[in-house]
């Protein structure tokens, strides 16, 4: 455990802080509350929704979001404003956490994966079968394709914003979006329900 985790982030002068309930500011401000608290309060829900849409599992989501905030807490003193809004910085940390989880999941024996249903179904889900199929198709993609699809189509980020989150060039984002769509389309088209409907 690094000593950095216990450093009071208020002592960092060049971080971009989030005012509670307010907007991002470019400079650290003298403040009476802990910046991490504001960060947590403001973005916790956003990250829960994002990670949940990608993993489909309540418990995995809570774990991954907590790991994201832990990483953010540790890294916050080193955060510098390089034109990446802090929301995107958090999304990048979350994406890395979910990618690691997805890679571990993919490396499990096939029967272990197939026996672990990743989808937490809500009573409000209109079509549980279709939802389950959609989630499995997404989770069956390589993690980088999952990431780019989810940020663009599920979170509604522009190609330029996805590029900022993932640290890729916009052209790379477009190319991977195209490949990800094609791969997911193939997976869906091969699924039993699609065959039944055709």
């Amino acid at each position: 455990m690094s000593e950095r985790s216990r450093v009071d982030p208020r002592s960092t002068s060049s971080a971009r802080w989030i005012e509670p309930g307010g907007t991002e500011t470019g400079e650290a401000q003298p403040r009476s509350s802990f910046p991490f608290e504001a960060l947590y309060r403001r973005y916790h829900r956003l990250l829960l929704d994002h990670v949940y849409r990608r993993t489909g599992d309540v418990h995995v989501t809570e774990d991954l979001v907590s790991q994201t905030f832990l990483s953010a807490l540790e890294a916050l003193p080193r955060y510098r404003d390089r034109g990446v809004p802090i929301r995107f910085w958090l999304l990048r940390i979350a994406t890395n956490a979910v990618n690691r989880w997805a890679r571990n999941r993919r490396s499990l024996p096939l029967d272990a994966v197939e026996n672990s249903d990743p989808v937490t179904l809500d009573p409000d889900d209109a079509d549980p079968d279709e939802l389950r199929r959609a989630q499995r198709a997404l989770l069956g993609l390589p993690p980088r394709y999952q990431a780019v699809l989810s940020l663009h189509y599920l979170e509604g980020l522009s190609v330029a914003d996805v590029a900022l989150v993932l640290g890729w060039r916009p052209g790379t984002v477009k190319a991977r979006l195209c490949r990800a769509r094609r791969t997911m389309r193939r997976r869906l088209d091969r699924s039993p329900i699609a065959e039944t409907r055709s």
């Binding site: 455990m1 690094s2 000593e3 985790s5 216990r6 450093v7 009071d8 208020r10 509350s33 802990f34 991490f36 608290e37 947590y40 309060r41 829900r45 829960l48 929704d49 949940y52 849409r53 489909g56 309540v58 418990h59 989501t61 809570e62 774990d63 979001v65 907590s66 790991q67 905030f69 832990l70 807490l73 571990n104 999941r105 490396s107 499990l108 272990a112 937490t120 809500d122 889900d125 209109a126 079509d127 279709e130 939802l131 199929r133 959609a134 989630q135 198709a137 997404l138 699809l149 989810s150 189509y153 599920l154 509604g156 769509r181 997911m184 389309r185 869906l188 088209d189 699609a194 055709s198």
Partner: protein, 169 residues
């Protein structure tokens, strides 16, 4: 639009409309925790045995796997709360943190009213499944104990880290 495209757009639409279930986060203990910047509560022993990651964060922050972990834990720990069936909450405390021979981290919680629990966190690299494994075991329990909340956050008086104090590197 071709049928495969329709399937894809429909699937993405299904996923896009999802949001994290509010019911999972509506519990008043969780709200109390959020109110004071606690992260997630630990729920157990209701059966799912899933640690909602406060303890993981707590343990990680505490450096509980290394010497001096308990001291760090004391610095970061805000509270341990015990949730009872009737909705009441009582205070508890962490009594022990240690790393087992197998590399898993164990934290014991004294929950008051005779209840004690052990939270055991096995990191992904050590668990057979390759996933983080969290187990909540009730050592002594009252039938009314439904769960525990372990909180971290900003101490009322900010911690002023002393260089090298407790540094386990």
């Amino acid at each position: 639009m071709s049928r495969p495209d329709e399937l894809l757009d429909s699937a993405l639409g299904q996923l896009r409309r999802r949001s994290f279930p509010a019911a999972e986060r509506s519990h008043h203990v969780e709200q109390r925790i959020h109110d004071r910047l606690r992260l997630h509560p630990v729920r157990g022993p209701e059966g799912r045995g899933r640690l909602l990651a406060a303890a993981v964060i707590l343990l990680a922050l505490a450096g509980a796997t290394a010497a001096g972990g308990m001291e760090k834990l004391r610095q970061w720990l805000v509270a341990v709360e015990v949730l009872h069936d009737d909705g009441s909450v009582s205070e508890g405390r962490v009594t022990e943190v240690h790393t087992g021979e197998d590399g898993a981290t164990n934290m014991e919680i004294e929950a008051g009213e005779g209840a004690r629990a052990r939270i055991r966190v096995t990191p992904p690299e050590l668990s057979p499944e390759g996933l983080k494994r969290v187990e909540v075991e009730i050592l002594e329990g009252q039938p009314t104990v439904r769960g525990f909340a372990v909180g971290i956050g900003t101490p009322e008086e900010p911690v002023s880290p002393t260089p090298n104090e407790g540094d386990d590197r």
